[in-house]
């Protein structure tokens, strides 16, 4: 089998097994087993990709291939994988079997729809990470909305319809603008002379080709493109102040939805920023970056304070996601390898630890039928195994060194601190207060729920003293099996993050190279610049970008060879 077929297999396998679900009889057991096998098989394929990946060339797009689509318009299903994509794919494929396993007892009806849509969601998420074609990326990116909309809307809590609608409309509106920006870049590429670089001057949606054309834009054009990209990706992250859909969606989503949402879907936003905003619009990023950093810092503190006054444990974790992703964005816009490396690691870390926290909360909800912190307490006494995992993941979440959260948090702050040309110490110092607030709200939650006198009141509806239907049994082996791999992952990434970081260094270099060259005053773009004084076009010349020359492409003036 060809190596390049592994990646499409990864995308198609969950789709196929999702479709095959429909053929099964509607009994629960067979469907559950099938879903588990399907996700495990996908995990297997992704592990095969890990084995066959050439780690010495981690920045190169490997196993790349394209399946033609509308070739006249430059459309194709192009895919390929570099180290950044690979780690995020691995995060997805590792989380999915655990999500399926974790849903065995929480989903009680409509098994086919539930597991079917989960599989479709997995395919869409993997597709987003492996796409090398903008339209393919965009299709997958948008298509994640549909399964999650249904998962929330059908299997969610009491306000599920409102939450699903808000989630869908909010993110959809944002990404429509992103689509406009993407189309603009593609159109801009057709206006460029074909001699400029390989792929210029025709319709194409190949991401790497479009890097070159977008970099050739003027500063003003880049700012507009960046704003368009941000409007989709920042909502998805979500960056303060466009985060309000998240707490509602998380609280109403079923556990599996929350885990996927926090674990992977939010990373589509940061991944988009990393993959598109940074290399495509470096000039705009350099000038607007500090403002984005400021929003990230504001979001860290603002949502951390909000976390502290939550009564619903799931809402608390949902808001904490906003706070955490602030660190992620902050590190990314530090535009140095420490910050961006920390940011990517943060994506993986947050996926593991927050995903695990949502699973823990889900296990409590199954037993207590409530998420109100005032109606439970002291669970360490009656559910010690659960308490162990809960405290463990909370510690990972507050960034305790030795666990994964610390490495990401420390590197993003360190990156922001030393990036005096974009952000600087003030950003790190203020964002660092988030470390303290993080400890405050997490320990507040742990102190109420895990420790203290035992309280198992159950839901407040109905007879409050009754506690009807409240179970207080500790985790069973299946649940321990769900949480243990995540705990091992947290510990492993906390002690040996270098295994990931080393593979990221080269791809990060590629991504921050355009912005770095602007900041350092080196060569900018593909060596194509226009001297603003003489309006002369220099090709492949070493032009000092420190002068911040405007790159204006007036196609009429470029001599066609």
């Amino acid at each position: 089998m060809q190596l390049s077929m592994l990646i499409p297999m990864m995308v198609v396998l969950p789709l196929l097994s999702g479709a095959a679900l429909l053929l099964l009889p509607s009994g629960g057991k067979a469907i559950k087993a099938h879903a588990l096998i399907g996700t495990l098989a996908t995990l297997g394929v992704s592990l095969l990709v890990v084995c066959r990946f050439d780690w010495s060339e981690s920045q190169a797009i490997q196993m790349a291939s394209a399946i033609g689509w509308v070739e006249g318009f430059g459309l194709s299903f192009g895919f390929g994988i570099d180290a950044i994509s690979l780690w995020l794919v691995l995060l997805t494929t590792v989380l999915m079997p655990l999500v399926v396993l974790g849903s065995f007892s929480s989903v009680t009806h409509r098994f086919k729809e539930f597991y079917g849509w989960l599989m479709v969601l997995e395919a869409a998420m993997i597709g987003t990470f492996v796409a090398t074609d903008l339209i393919f990326f965009y299709i997958c990116f948008e298509f994640t909305l549909v399964p999650l909309y249904l998962l929330i809307g059908v299997f969610g809590g009491t306000q599920r319809l409102r939450a699903a609608k808000m989630f869908f409309l909010y993110t959809f509106t944002g990404s429509m603008l992103t689509f406009a920006g993407v189309l603009y870049v593609a159109w801009f590429n057709t206006t460029l002379p074909w001699t400029l670089f390989e792929g210029a001057g025709r319709w194409t949606f190949d991401i790497r080709t479009l890097y070159g054309s977008a970099q050739a834009m003027s500063h003003g054009q880049q700012v507009w493109v960046l704003i368009a990209l941000l409007s989709g990706f920042a909502v998805k992250v979500p960056l303060f102040p466009v985060h309000t859909w998240l707490p509602l969606a998380h609280t109403e989503a079923p556990t599996s939805g929350s885990v996927i949402l926090a674990g992977v879907l939010l990373k589509l936003g940061t991944y988009g920023l990393l993959r598109f905003a940074l290399p495509m619009t470096p000039w705009a990023v350099v000038t607007i970056g500090p403002y984005i950093g400021a929003f990230a810092v504001a979001g860290i503190l603002y949502t951390a304070l909000i976390c502290w006054v939550q009564k619903d444990i799931k809402k608390l974790i949902a808001y904490s996601s906003v706070s955490h992703l602030g660190f992620c964005v902050l590190g990314m816009f530090a535009l140095n390898s420490v910050g961006v490396g920390g940011s990517i690691l943060y994506m993986i870390n947050h996926g593991l630890s927050t995903g695990a926290l949502f699973l823990c909360v889900g296990m409590i909800y199954e037993r207590m039928h409530t998420r109100e912190m005032s109606r439970m307490g002291g669970l360490a006494r009656i559910m010690p195994v659960w308490a162990f995992f809960m405290v463990f993941f909370c510690m990972a979440s507050v960034g305790l060194p030795g666990l994964n959260g610390f490495v990401g948090e420390f590197l993003t702050l360190m990156g922001a601190f030393v990036a005096t040309d974009v952000l600087g110490p003030a950003y790190a110092a203020i964002a660092g207060v988030g470390m303290i607030l993080g400890a405050i709200y997490v320990l507040y939650m742990v102190g109420r729920v895990v420790f203290g006198p035992v309280v198992t009141l159950g839901p407040s509806l109905g007879d409050p003293s009754d506690g009807h239907g409240v179970r207080t049994d500790d985790l069973n082996w299946r649940e321990i099996g769900v949480l243990s791999p995540l705990a091992v992952g947290c510990l492993w990434l906390g002690l040996f993050p270098t295994t990931v970081l080393q593979t990221l260094e080269a791809p990060i270099e590629g991504i921050i190279e355009p912005t770095r060259s602007i900041l350092d005053g080196g060569v900018y773009g593909k060596g194509v610049t226009i001297d603003s004084d003489s309006e002369r076009i220099d090709r492949d010349s070493d032009f000092p970008a420190a002068r911040r020359v405007l790159v204006l492409f007036d196609t009429d003036r470029i001599a066609q060879p």
């Binding site: 002291g378 060194p401 610390f406 601190f417 320990l443 507040y444 040996f496």
Partner: protein, 697 residues
């Protein structure tokens, strides 16, 4: 023994922690937790002794780097799991593993029968892992790992009796207050990386490339080359040290930390973890010396804390709280010592303090154990007949803490105060003289409050009230298993293995044995630092062989200290010894009068000064003030943000959502299904298009 064995010092307890953690889940394995923990700690201690034998041999003066594995490496940042061994490290390891072993042996008896037995030893082992990592770290990030790691263990152990709300609150407070300091520490690390481009201490070579370490960078800099950002570094690091070592204004967590089991108070909150701040400043002295204001600031904060905490200790009634404030005060001495460039004094006091304060806490624990949780010294008296061994063990500890001549605390405290006075009298600032006098006054207070405890508890008529531990949740002697919640109700009620005596009683030798070792240390450890006729001592050689040796500033001050300073016609050190001996004896005598011979006089005195007494009893109302000034407003901010989020930000989004709907409302009237309307619309549309086409043509 090869020095490479030192790598195992942290990892043996780490393995023990995992094992003890597994023991939590199985009832039969639970009793294995203590032996495993003790064995791992004792082997750590033995390895350290072996390494100590290599001082001067394999362990050179420049320090040795031991690489374990690559931890964080990206873009020039190089923070490995690597250890740095020099004499200071070895000294700290001796304290940590030595006191750790003794406390673990004591705890094996003290915690027997508790349902969290295995959990306790898992946390203690984990603590030793973190603490040894802290003192062995070769880079700041790894030091930070140990730093936060000990914070976690402190959190878990303060909150050990997690069903008690006060314990949970105290644990939370400790973690959060420490986090405030840690933020300063973290920013300090970042600034160091920004300025020097490195975070590791020692210079090392890897793949033929030399990576110069922090110490080398510092020694290369001349004071004239130091730029403003570098001057800021020590102040950020200091914040971390003040948080971890409970100095003003971040001391508030330590007294509350006494909610934890007493062995924990002895090990973590007296002997080892809280001294991490002193260690950190001593270790990073080359960085602190770059800033002319950093060490004086440390000295002032240390001196002020020493005095401040000692005054609070005067009027506390809970034995453990007296010792807790005393710890804060003694830590202040250590900072004073480091701050006046007497790193030897500071580290020496750290060393002796570990012995006598661990001893005091453990004997207090014995009293608590014997009286079923009773800690209020107003409710006990004359226990010497009931607990004779404990009585005299605590007496030794009290003597050392009070600085009674020729005990351990006497020498170390004297060294610090003499160094401060020396700097003051040689004209390096009146501030130092003031600090020295404040230190002497603190010594008087210390002698008084220490013996107040001892005379109240052990002297006078024998009468006491038992505590309520049998009824309380904290030490219920059930033999239930943590992972088996059903076990403790059904099976164990009739099967209580560990009997609690129902009267005050002496401890067994499992618990008293380690105390005797500590008592011997408390009496004799001072001689290790006592200079012989040629001015040399073991401790001096330890400091001189490490990074904590002050060189830069001592040279700068060398012009002042040519002759020996004289005070009261005697050589300064002798004079200070005489003065502090007198103060110590005076304090003990006053305590004896007020709390042994004439107790009513003490009560009358308290009544006469009821205002001050109340302020002291309430610890200057600092907790209340902090709650009102910081905690409540912050929480209010949280509520405000939440309301703002729901109403304004979410409201705006919903308002935007209304725009298309309003647009729809506006054009809805045109879609009413009447053909005439559509006809007019069509005609107008065609007309507009026609006009447009005509205009374009």
């Amino acid at each position: 023994m090869s020095i490479e064995f030192a790598k195992w010092v942290p990892w043996l307890p780490a393995a023990a922690a995992v094992f003890c953690g597994l023991c939590c889940t199985n009832r039969r394995m639970r009793t294995l937790a203590a032996p495993v923990c003790i064995v791992s700690l004792v082997s750590g201690f033995l390895i350290t002794l072996g390494v100590k034998g290599q001082i001067g041999g394999e362990l050179s003066d420049a320090g040795t780097r031991l690489q374990v594995f690559e931890w964080i490496r990206i873009g020039g940042l190089n923070a490995d799991f690597a250890y740095y061994l020099d004499t200071l490290t070895v000294l700290m390891l001796l304290v940590v593993t030595g006191v750790g072993s003794l406390v673990a042996i004591y705890a094996a008896g003290y915690m027997a029968g508790d349902r969290g037995y295995a959990r306790f030893f898992a946390a203690v082992s984990l603590f030793i892992f973190a603490m040894t990592t802290l003192v062995m770290a070769d880079n700041l990030v790894l030091l930070y790992l140990g730093w936060e790691g000990v914070g976690l263990c402190s959190y878990l152990l303060i909150g050990y009796y997690y069903q008690k709300p006060s314990a949970v609150a105290a644990a939370k407070k400790a973690f959060i207050v420490n986090r405030i300091g840690d933020l300063g520490f973290a920013l300090g690390i970042m600034l160091i990386y920004h300025q020097f481009g490195t975070v590791h201490f020692s210079t090392f070579t890897a793949d033929g490339v030399v990576y110069p370490g922090l110490f080398e960078h510092c020694s290369r800099l001349t004071l004239a080359q130091v730029e403003t950002p570098v001057l800021v570094i020590p102040f950020l690091l200091m914040l971390g040290a003040f948080g971890k070592s409970a100095q003003l204004p971040l001391y508030v967590w330590l007294p509350d930390a006494m909610e934890g089991p007493t062995p924990v108070s002895a090990l973590i909150h007296a002997a080892t973890m809280v001294t991490a701040g002193v260690y950190m400043i001593a270790r990073l002295l080359p960085v602190f010396e770059l800033s002319p204001y950093a060490l004086p600031t440390v000295a002032v904060v240390g001196g002020a804390t020493a005095l401040f905490a000692a005054t609070i200790a005067l009027r506390q009634h809970d034995i453990k709280r007296v010792f807790a404030y005393s710890t804060v005060s003694q830590l202040g001495y250590m900072f004073l010592g480091v701050g006046v460039l007497s790193t030897v004094g500071g580290v020496f006091h750290l060393f002796t303090h570990a012995f006598f304060k661990a001893l005091l806490f453990l004997t207090a624990g014995s009293v608590m154990h014997g009286l079923a949780g009773q800690l209020d010294m107003r409710k006990m008296s004359g226990l010497r007949t009931k607990m004779p061994v404990t009585c005299w063990l605590m007496f030794v500890g009290c003597l050392a803490l009070a600085g009674f001549p020729f005990t351990a605390g006497f020498f170390s405290k004297d060294m610090i105060l003499a160094a401060a006075m020396d700097r003051g009298l040689t004209g390096q600032g009146t501030m130092y003289t003031v600090l020295g006098i404040a230190g002497l006054f603190t010594a008087l207070l210390t002698a008084y409050y220490t013996f107040r405890v001892w005379f109240r508890v052990f002297m006078g008529p024998t009468e006491y009230e038992m505590g309520e531990e049998h009824a309380a949740v904290e030490d219920t002697p059930t033999d239930g298993n943590e992972a088996d919640p059903s076990a403790d109700t059904s099976i164990d009620d009739g099967n209580i293995k560990v009997e609690h005596h129902h009267d005050a009683h002496e401890m067994g030798w499992l618990m008293n044995g380690p105390l005797v070792v500590l008592a011997v240390g408390a009496l004799l450890a001072g001689w290790l630092g006592h200079a012989d006729s040629s001015g040399h001592s073991w401790l001096l050689s330890v400091i001189e062989g490490s990074s904590a040796n002050p060189t830069r500033m001592v040279e700068a001050a060398a012009g002042h200290a040519e002759a020996h300073t004289m005070l009261l016609g005697m050589e300064l050190h002798t004079a200070m010894m005489v003065i502090s001996s007198c103060l110590s004896v005076l304090g003990i005598l006053v305590a004896a009068y007020l709390h042994w011979f004439n107790r009513p006089a003490a009560d009358r005195l308290a009544e006469q000064w009821s205002g001050s007494a109340r302020v002291l009893e309430n610890k200057y109302f600092v907790d209340e003030a902090m709650d009102a000034v910081i905690v409540k407003p912050l929480r209010m901010m949280g509520y405000l943000c939440f309301v703002f989020d729901r109403l304004v930000i979410e409201g705006l989004v919903l308002a935007v959502g209304w725009v298309p709907r309003i647009g729809g409302l506006a054009v809805r009237r045109t879609q009413r299904g009447a053909l005439q309307g559509y006809g007019i619309g069509m005609a107008v549309g065609v007309a507009v298009v026609a006009v447009l086409i005509a205009m374009v043509r």
